[in-house]
């Protein structure tokens, strides 16, 4: 999967631009707060239709402009497509090859990206919801049916919670409990299948890239039932408390996904370095899994990773990147340390006050 061309108009602080990235490494460099991450964000948006930094669309549109237009030429499985995303203050619309996409799911996840950003460390440290979303986003990339499963479950959950708020009678609640259990079981099964695949890779990646001798693992904090009947039994057990709290208290929306190191939750027991290593290993394992499942290399988006890693992990990670056959976009403030590495082919883009200028001296 390759980005051949990227055109941005009215996006964030960036001046309107058109770049032709390298098929290998693309280094976006410059001082802080010049707009480097905005470029990664634009690529991410074309795949996910959602930013990793802000839920507010209007912040994506340049001040003084009515709309932002993102356009990319993307080659996948030998065919090139034109992806376009138009953001206005009222809404967004997407086109592929000039045809309007009616159902966002048709475009969502077509351009596969894996984002590496230290900001996601907060997900490891924070509440279980953040860790579940890290997992769910990874699953969705390999399993397009997962989106519908997750949406059905969320819909059932909202409907059922409304009935609990209204203190509706059992006869009305029952069909929603059944649907919640069915869709919840499907959701848990999809998560479990993914976790089983990812675990061995995660261990390998942690050892080779992070050099850790610890045993890392991830999974749900308690044994969770994977069948509709299991979930119905859980709902039955919490029924009285549900009535009291007026919300659904059992199900995949409450499952506590733990990232563990030597059997203990990383959240409480891991050092900052271990948490960083874990996240790096998780993402690397995700890339390898995605390559095996889809037989395509995702586009890697690395946000200022260099400054986060010590020299051992940096060397090991660059070895992984060099072995990786896909396209990489990375931002950095320190281009000199990258010059020493044999990154090839490479293009560099310097960003100054939102303006991009390719630097011919670094092109090869």
């Amino acid at each position: 999967m390759r980005l051949r061309e990227l055109k941005l108009q009215g996006f964030r602080n960036l001046q309107d631009l058109r770049v032709e990235p390298s098929t290998g490494f693309n280094v976006i460099w410059g001082d802080n707060a010049q707009g480097k991450t905005n470029l990664l964000e634009a690529i991410y948006l074309l795949g996910q239709l959602k930013s990793f930094r802000s839920n507010r669309r209007e912040t994506l549109i340049k001040i003084g402009r009515d709309e932002a237009r993102l356009s990319a030429g993307i080659c996948m499985s030998g065919v090139c497509h034109r992806f376009e995303l138009l953001l206005t203050r009222e809404g967004q619309s997407a086109d592929i090859d000039g045809k309007r996409i009616v159902n966002a799911a048709e475009m969502l996840g077509r351009l596969k990206t894996v984002l590496f950003t230290s900001e996601e460390i907060s997900l490891i440290r924070g509440n279980p919801g953040g860790r579940r979303s890290l997992l769910d986003r990874a699953i969705f990339q390999t399993n397009s049916g997962f989106l519908q499963i997750a949406r059905d479950f969320q819909r059932c959950l909202k409907q059922r919670n409304r009935l609990l708020k209204l203190a509706a009678e059992d006869a009305q609640l029952r069909p929603w409990s059944q649907k919640l259990a069915e869709s919840g079981a499907r959701l848990r099964q999809a998560r479990e299948i993914f976790l089983q695949r990812l675990r061995p890779r995660l261990r390998d990646c942690y050892r080779t890239i992070c050099g850790g001798t610890e045993e890392v693992d991830l999974g749900f904090s308690e044994r969770i039932g994977l069948t509709t009947d299991d979930l119905l039994a859980e709902l039955h057990r919490t029924a009285a408390r549900e009535r009291q709290y007026q919300q659904t208290l059992a199900g995949p929306h409450r499952d506590d996904l733990q990232f563990r190191i030597d059997g203990r939750p990383l959240k409480n027991y891991g050092s900052q370095g271990q948490q960083r290593s874990f996240l790096l290993a998780f993402k690397t394992a995700q890339v390898l899994d995605l390559e095996e499942q889809t037989r395509q290399s995702p586009v890697l988006l690395l946000d200022d990773l260099n400054s986060e890693l010590d020299s051992f992990r940096r060397n090991a990670f660059f070895e992984f990147l060099l072995a990786h056959r896909g396209q990489v976009f990375l931002t950095t403030t320190d281009i000199s340390s990258l010059r020493e590495r044999d990154l090839n082919p490479i293009r560099c883009f310097e960003i100054k006050a939102g303006k991009v200028q390719p630097d011919p001296s670094m092109d090869s």
Partner: protein, 199 residues
């Protein structure tokens, strides 16, 4: 620019209320009507008024009809023992088109959706139960949509109807006929695999 021609602007505004019709299409339709002879415009206006005057809901099945009870409810050639429940009149029409069902119908006029304030009382549930208590129906075929709401409505119905000793069936779902498996969306394949049966 339309403001200077109020009668034209008014028609465009009315047409733009139609589902799937934006201002651009509405303007095109208005120009089309403008070019039409007066008789054509009167025929259209008449058809719309007649629709509102003549069509109501059948008091038995709640399908749209010009006569009450509707022709389906009074058709002597249909099986009284079979009753098909759908959400909307257009669903009934779709099943009739297939000519695969020769029983009678009941239109709920919606599906359960607590988020939209729709419970059993907002639908034609009690009328359905009344019909079933009449004793003629052997089997209830639930043909609500295959959405979360349609499924929940089907489950609710089943819970209410089973105690009456009536068989409750659900429309099967799966791969559309004439389609290649490789082009069917994942969610449909998923459900078809789950709903597989012995050969």
């Amino acid at each position: 620019m339309l403001d200077s021609i109020p009668s034209f602007a008014r028609l465009v505004a009315e047409l733009a209320k139609f589902p799937g019709i934006g201002k651009k299409t509405a303007t095109r339709l208005a120009f089309f009507l403008l070019r039409q002879p007066r008789a054509e415009a009167e025929a259209l206006a008449g058809a719309i008024l007649e629709l509102k005057e003549k069509i109501g809901f059948c008091s038995r099945c709640f399908h749209i009809t010009e006569s009450d009870p509707c022709p389906i409810c009074t058709d002597p050639g249909r099986d009284e023992g079979l009753l098909c429940v759908v959400e909307q009149p257009q669903d009934l029409i779709a099943i009739e088109r297939s000519r695969s069902f020769r029983g009678r119908y009941h239109v709920l006029q919606g599906a359960l959706s607590p988020l939209d304030g729709i419970g059993p009382d907002q639908l034609r549930f009690s009328e359905l139960l009344q019909r079933l208590k009449g004793g003629a129906v052997r089997e209830l075929l639930v043909a609500t949509n295959f959405t979360v709401e349609g499924d929940a409505t089907a489950l609710y119905l089943a819970g209410q109807v089973r105690p009456l000793g009536i068989r409750v069936t659900r429309l099967a779902h799966g791969i559309p006929t004439g389609s290649d498996l490789e082009f069917v969306d994942d969610a449909t394949v998923n459900r078809a695999v789950e709903g597989r049966r012995d050969l």
